[in-house]
Symmetry: C2
Subunit: 417 residues, 2 copies
């Protein structure tokens, strides 16, 4: 008998029909001989509706009271899902985060879990129940209700799987797995059977928003086997685990890309200690996330360096930099918008020389110039102009042998909470 954690997002339970389909799916999995723990998010628009109500009364509500309000969404889901399972003649018991023993630090709105005491959940399973747990929430040692922030329900599922030593944590989503690239761009993108935690993290951060990075990190840290699969089909999905098998001759797992990237360059910066800390400290203090940073050496005591930000932050970033001229001496700051970042990701890259060179050659052969490059052990990213992005992704997908003829993408709008 296996212990399986099944996580369903808000759109999977957004209507009575979907709730019934999820209940059926859970019962099928139980009747295969498994103990089932379910983690579920708030239904459809519940969270947004609650936020709207609160904004009418207080545009800046205290985070503690916001947690008190929003945890209601998952509590509604667990009660209704439990009732739905009962209606089909099976047994289920719902648990709020605190009832499931999820303890967090004393922070509201984005608490981290500290530990889990799943005794009541184990007892419910022993008595033949499906155990249904509210995602996204927990309780401090002082009995305060907290929420876990973005990706919270994914993280709840992974944490319950780790605490209960589950055999697998299945994340049910609107898509039927992780793809080698966005199937909307490359028609014959392949669904991956397996992917490593690290590869998944690179793909998630680069835009494949199926699984929250925090949940992947948690799974990696606790060695929880994840499976990403569709709520709507019986397809096998994608396994995410420590060591993922690579097909013969394939070193790149997938092609990821970020749209709406801007480059900022600061030219003729006086090279004194602490100058980079000053620049990036100021950007961070103004809430600007910086991605790639490139510095190309020092000449005559002056350096040029470039970095990328979201296109939306471009003008603000320039203003912040002009604002620190009193502490940082430089000649000029320039910017360029309408760029994209395209990345190849694969654990095999580290032991295969020439993988990056093939990327540069493929991009160049399309007459596209590469503006910035950044590499890690399992990733190589290039910043290019936006216009040829789809051609570049298709060419890379083919060049690294990822194309498949018979893949059908099953997808829809993605959910993240």
């Amino acid at each position: 008998m296996s212990l399986i954690v099944m996580k369903f997002g808000g759109s999977s339970v957004g209507t009575p029909e979907r709730m019934q389909r999820v209940a059926k799916r859970i019962i099928e999995r139980q009747q295969e001989g498994n103990d089932i723990v379910v983690v579920v998010s708030a239904m459809g628009d519940t969270t947004d509706d609650l936020i709207d109500q609160s904004k009418q009364l207080n545009p800046n509500p205290p985070a503690r009271e916001m947690d008190m309000l929003l945890t209601v969404g998952e509590q509604i889901s667990i009660a209704l899902l439990s009732m739905t399972i009962h209606q089909s003649g099976h047994r289920a018991v719902s648990f709020t985060g605190w009832q499931a023993g999820i303890r967090t630090e004393a922070v509201h709105g984005k608490a981290k879990m500290t530990n889990i005491h799943p005794e009541r959940v184990f007892k419910a399973l022993e008595q033949g129940n499906v155990a249904i747990i509210a995602g996204f929430q927990g309780m401090t040692e002082e009995g305060e209700i907290t929420t876990l922030g973005r990706g919270g329900s994914d993280t709840t599922a992974v944490a319950m799987a780790a605490a209960m030593n589950a055999d697998v944590c299945e994340i049910y989503t609107d898509v039927d797995g992780i793809y080698s690239t966005d199937p909307r761009v490359v028609k014959n993108a392949r669904k991956l059977n397996e992917i490593s935690y690290d590869e998944m993290l690179e793909l998630a951060n680069l835009g494949a928003a199926v699984l929250h990075p925090r949940a992947v990190e948690y799974a990696k840290h606790n060695n929880v086997k994840l499976v990403v699969r569709s709520s709507f089909t019986q397809n096998e999905g994608t396994s995410v685990k420590e060591e993922a098998v690579m097909e013969q001759g394939v070193v790149v797992r997938g092609i990821a890309f970020d749209k709406n990237v801007a480059r900022i360059s600061i030219m003729g910066v006086e090279d004194v200690p602490g100058v980079l800390a000053n620049v990036f400290g100021a950007l961070a203090n103004n809430g600007i996330d910086v991605d790639i940073i490139v510095q190309s050496g020092v000449q005559d005591g002056k350096a040029d360096f470039s970095f990328t930000v979201s296109g939306d932050d471009k003008d603000k970033a320039i203003r912040v930099i002009e604002g620190i001229r009193s502490t940082v001496s430089f000649r000029e700051a320039t910017s360029e918008a309408d760029l994209v970042k395209v990345s190849i990701v694969g654990a095999g890259m580290v032991s295969n020389p020439g993988v990056a060179a093939k990327m540069f050659a493929t991009i160049s052969s399309l007459g596209v110039s590469i503006k910035m490059v950044s590499t890690s052990e399992i990733k190589c990213s290039c910043v290019i102009t936006a216009e040829p992005l789809n051609d570049v992704v298709r060419a890379l997908h083919t060049a690294y042998g990822l194309d498949t003829a018979d893949q059908v993408f099953v997808g829809g709008p993605q959910e993240r909470r």
Copy 2:
């Protein structure tokens, strides 16, 4: 400095404007120099909406999961009310039932409170907060979420007042106090300044649905002073307490009435031990509430007796009685519908002979015949035909000196949960 518990029903917080008015009321009361504990119900239609959602998925949901679902309603109220108080620059902390330390027996849907541990609520007050508590809910010793059933929020308020030794428990409603009779029937009904627990119980049970009888019983048992007052006016309201002052020369506090009463008579019942237990046991097992029971002696080993039920239960009651002919021998069962019960209530009656006689005389003087009579120490009830009810109530109101010239009734649809 006084400690005041303020209870607001669902319609008092049903819109953003009402929520803001309640918040203002709370802050005013605090700024008069009081510590304030607030108990609040679910907003407007929230509970009904949740029930509708559940019925779509399971027409007979398990009571445990129904409690999990419905307690959400009060949790939304407390969070939003707390945010509203913060918005006006004051401090508030919300508590679910379990956070406020409300422990109940292990029964779902209508649990009784066993004890209260209000340490966290006291601490919140010490730190200068308004403490806002979800009504209608609690937790078992095993950590299961429970609801208290009908009148639950009133009872929560009274119980918190008792546990915290509050100076007064103020119940805010849609009407501005308890009246000597229904002001829709008697235009110059008087608002009562004071009323005893026992009188209130008789009036509540007889139809003045402002305060739930269970809450009054709890207040009487713990000697908690109640004040019933309007959410919408600054009027003083009605105090409910152990000893209520009677005005000189007045022995009756109020005139109550129940509409839609039916009389059932069972004639020629063989007078053997246990016959009454058989009849009323069968009625109770079929969910039929019996009110007045009258038996008028035994003749030739046969008795006649009559009782009243709600008009809606008349036919069912007759069917139940015909169904027990095998165990209870009787000649025939008859019924009469379209009756009403009118009652005079007052603690002074016990020491004033002739009060009941005046009631019979007043009713008779209108040419109305009395079909049944029932008396207790502080109440005398007569069953009559429905048609002359309003005239009878007006005549009794005048006869017992309750009329007043300058009273203005402020009321609306009544709330009860």
